[in-house]
Amino acid sequence: MLFSYSIPRALSSLSVNWRASLNSMLIIAASLSVLGTGVLLYVNVIHFSRIWLSNTTVSLFLGGGIPAVHRDRIVTQVRDDPHVVRAWLVSPREGMEVLGAKLGSDHGLLAGVDIESLPYTVDFEVAAGDREHIHALAAKFIALDGVDEVVYGERALENVRLFFQIAQGVGMFFIALILLSSFMIVSNAIRLSLHTRQDEIGILAAVGATHGVIRSSFIIEGMLLSFAGYLLAIGIIWLGFQIIVAALSWNEATMIVKERAIFFSLDVLLVSMGASMLVGAVGSHVSVSGLLRRIEG
């Protein structure tokens, strides 16, 4: 039945009723574009939160007058810790240079600072998966002989972690909400196109088509409409993404976003394509079943 009627009929219906089909496809594409843009924003917020968390650097401020051998021993002890990805010694001069670069045009503020009075630091990074060990590492390294202070932006780290948790929860809630509304929009778009063809459903029932056969051609049609709407929506989102990312060159922060912003992965694209076709199929099924119930009394 699929090849004798359902698929040929779905294809011929799409081409014969091309205006209604185009209209439905554009409605679907518009709703999926809104959904996709929201999801892409969410994915990038999570992505950048992860980057920030994984890039947390810890600084150990060493006491004054520590001999070079002792400083090297501390660096070795830090490097030997399995949670540390890399560790390096920063001299007062290097520290001033880094700070000057960060201050940019305000680097003149450092003019009166006596470099000799500044301490050496041992900076190190932990692996992304070992963020939870930062507190323990801080406690461990402060106990080392020669280490005066540990600085690692504890509050910022906690804030990011909290934001990350909230974003995940709220994001999931909104994605579920947008998915539901997108389902309603898609199934309503399909229902609109079906309403113009109520007579056809009545004729099919009268000539002896089973409910399965009647539904199948409309379900295939709904899936094809959703698929076309999905492709258009992804095209729109991709184009918008490229334009926005290309324009992000104002300062250092936006350059980071420009370089590291991500689009949907192939896996996500395939899964969302399947989901949108499923929405089309379910929307058609619900609409045709309702019409069939009315026609059959």
Partner: protein, 230 residues
């Protein structure tokens, strides 16, 4: 054989349109169902096609109670009844051939079998040569001939024609009635619902009148006077 046993039907809880109607139709019969508009002619067809359901009573087709049919059996039952509508009920954007082939396609026919059956039906109503034309470009009479070819595509044992000549001029109506007579002569039971007494007089046959929610058999004696018996 088709039997209506004490069938009552009402719409939306209103006064019944048919009340305790009993009717027996033998195989190979040709007869008219007549009555004023809204008398219940189409309702009888819809009940038989299971497009409506009786409030009470039984409808038997070859001794099977059709009201008990499930969805699948209902579809098969409808393939054994060819229905012809006053408004043709064709798909205007499809061709003559596609409209005629529709019942076959939904039943799973493909390829040569589909083409042969479709062509044979179109040839019977004289439309085979024009099979590629779109239905919307046809006249009312031509559309009715396409509807007849679609209704006969399974060679069903029963044909229901609901006001088949209602929208047609006299000559075209004659062609359509001739086609229905031929179908009957090939062995099918043909029931024609009409309120056109001229048509009934032109093609004489058993006539049933629906009046005041019941069915009466009438015998046409003279054009001006019909005998009625309960």
């Amino acid at each position: 054989m088709i039997e209506f046993l004490e069938v009552t039907k009402s719409y939306l809880g209103m006064r019944p349109i048919l009340e305790s109607v009993s009717l027996k139709i033998d195989k190979g019969e040709f007869f008219y169902l007549t009555g004023v508009s809204g008398a219940g002619k189409t309702t009888i067809f819809k009940l038989l096609m299971l497009l409506e359901h009786a409030d009470s009573g039984q409808i038997l087709v070859d001794d099977a109670d059709v009201e008990r049919f499930n969805a699948k059996r209902t579809a098969l039952h409808r393939r054994r009844i060819g229905m012809i509508f006053q408004d043709y009920r064709l798909l205007p954007k499809l061709s003559i051939e596609e409209n005629t082939a529709l019942p076959l396609r939904v039943a799973g026919y493909r390829g040569k079998a589909l083409r042969q059956k479709t062509e044979a039906c179109l040839a019977r109503v004289g439309m085979a040569e024009r099979r590629k034309e779109l239905v919307k470009s046809l006249s009312g009479g031509e559309q009715q001939l396409v509807a007849i070819s679609r209704a006969t595509v399974f060679d069903p044992p029963v044909i229901l024609a609901d006001e088949p000549t209602g929208n047609l001029d006299q000559n075209t109506a004659y062609t359509v009635m001739k086609s229905l007579r031929e179908i009957n002569q090939r062995g099918a039971t043909v029931i024609v619902a009409t309120h056109d007494l001229n048509l009934i007089r032109s093609f004489r046959a058993r006539t049933l009148l629906i009046k005041e929610r019941r069915i009466h058999e009438v015998r046409l004696v003279k054009p001006e006077r019909e005998e009625m018996r309960a």
